[in-house]
Amino acid sequence: MQEIINKLIDRYAIEPIQVRRDNQAFVTIEKNRLPDVLTWLRDYENYTHLAFITAVDYLEIEKIQLTYMLHNYKTNTDLGLRVLLDRAQPEMVSVHHLWKQVEIYQRELHEMFGIDFPGSPGLNESFALEGWDEIPPMRRDFNTREYSERTYFPRPGRKTHDPREYMKQKLYPEKKEDK
């Protein structure tokens, strides 16, 4: 693991590198350098397996973080490449030419987070949501409960309990809440 970290620092001057375990590390890089680094890792450093691409919506800092997770079968190490995108206009370079399955990930990210990948095949076809006309549902400002109640005819009579309070009431009914 340390070897690939040193190489990354030498070659791309990428820092900081978060080492989570002795076989897992994460780096944050600029979005335009990502295809470079991915290609180098895949073709020279044996990170041949793209495990997943995932997105996290950081509402507070107005960013969307993409993580490209790579796996090396020779050294059994994982390397996560992270990119921060602008939340208002999230646009990312498509890397579908490196791995075929990236198309699917990018279609899904496009639908669930509204991230644009120009040039990615079939990007505008609907994936799981057909005819969706709200903001992308995995964005954190999308209120899924409110949408569900507005759309799907909720059956009246549903009761929910906070499990902690409910069990307290049930097991120790005589005890008053401490203030």
Binding site: S126, A128, L129, E130, G131, W132, D133, P137, F142, T144, R145, Y147, S148, E149, T151, Y152, F153, P154, R155, G157, R158
Partner: protein, 210 residues
């Protein structure tokens, strides 16, 4: 009565189809089934109850409970249940658990293609009130707004024994002539269709898929 008959002769708009496709599809409304006669119908109901053919379409996680039913331990063939590959041959639609909007579109299409008399069994709490997915953006909360449901089987998930009990209850209802889902669907067709179209936003199929 007169009003109803006029309505059944109306043509469907088929707004979801492109202009050149409209001629290819049927635009008739669903017709209600008129019972033949007390004793004939009684005999027919007995026959229907003893040959429930299931549409083999697992729509949610509940479909996993249909597999044990087919195995030697539970052996659903004892009750005359058999899975069929296409909607045209099936008489019972088993909705297995949660239903996403994308699946619902296919389910509506399959249900309408089934030949009457047809019955719907909804299993799992997801079909009743949404279950654990009640606040999801993508799963419906109650199935009876979109299809006429004959039997609900509660549980998350119901065991195969519960399914067998549900099927036996359905048989009783059929023999007592209390399953009228097909006519209910035909009579309240506009209401069902409005509910379906409210959530299936890209309606690109005929209004009635017969």
């Amino acid at each position: 009565m007169d009003n109803k008959e006029n309505k059944s002769k109306q043509k469907l708009a088929n707004d979801g189809l492109a202009e050149h496709e409209k001629a290819l599809f049927c635009d008739a409304r669903p017709q209600t089934y008129k019972p033949l006669g007390k004793y004939v119908e009684k005999f027919l109901n007995w026959a229907r109850a003893n040959s429930l053919w299931i549409l083999g379409y697992g729509t949610g996680c509940g479909a996993i409970e249909l597999r044990p039913l087919m195995t030697a331990r539970f052996d659903m063939f004892r009750w005359g249940l058999a899975p069929r590959p296409t909607p045209r041959q099936a008489g019972v639609f088993v909705i297995g658990g949660y239903m996403s909007v994308k699946t619902l579109k296919r389910v509506i299409r399959s249900y309408e293609q089934m030949q009457g008399p047809k019955f719907v069994i909804a299993l799992g709490s997801c079909t009743i009130n949404g279950g654990m997915y009640w606040d999801s953006y993508n799963t419906i909360n109650r199935l009876d707004h979109y299809l006429p449901v004959d039997i609900y089987i509660t549980g998350c998930m119901p065991r195969p024994e519960a399914l067998i009990a549900g099927f036996n209850k359905l048989k009783e209802l059929i023999k007592d002539n209390k399953t009228d889902g097909q006519n209910e669907y035909a009579n309240n067709f506009d209401w069902y269709k409005a509910n379906q179209k409210k959530i299936v936003k890209d309606w690109n199929m005929p209004d009635y898929n017969w």
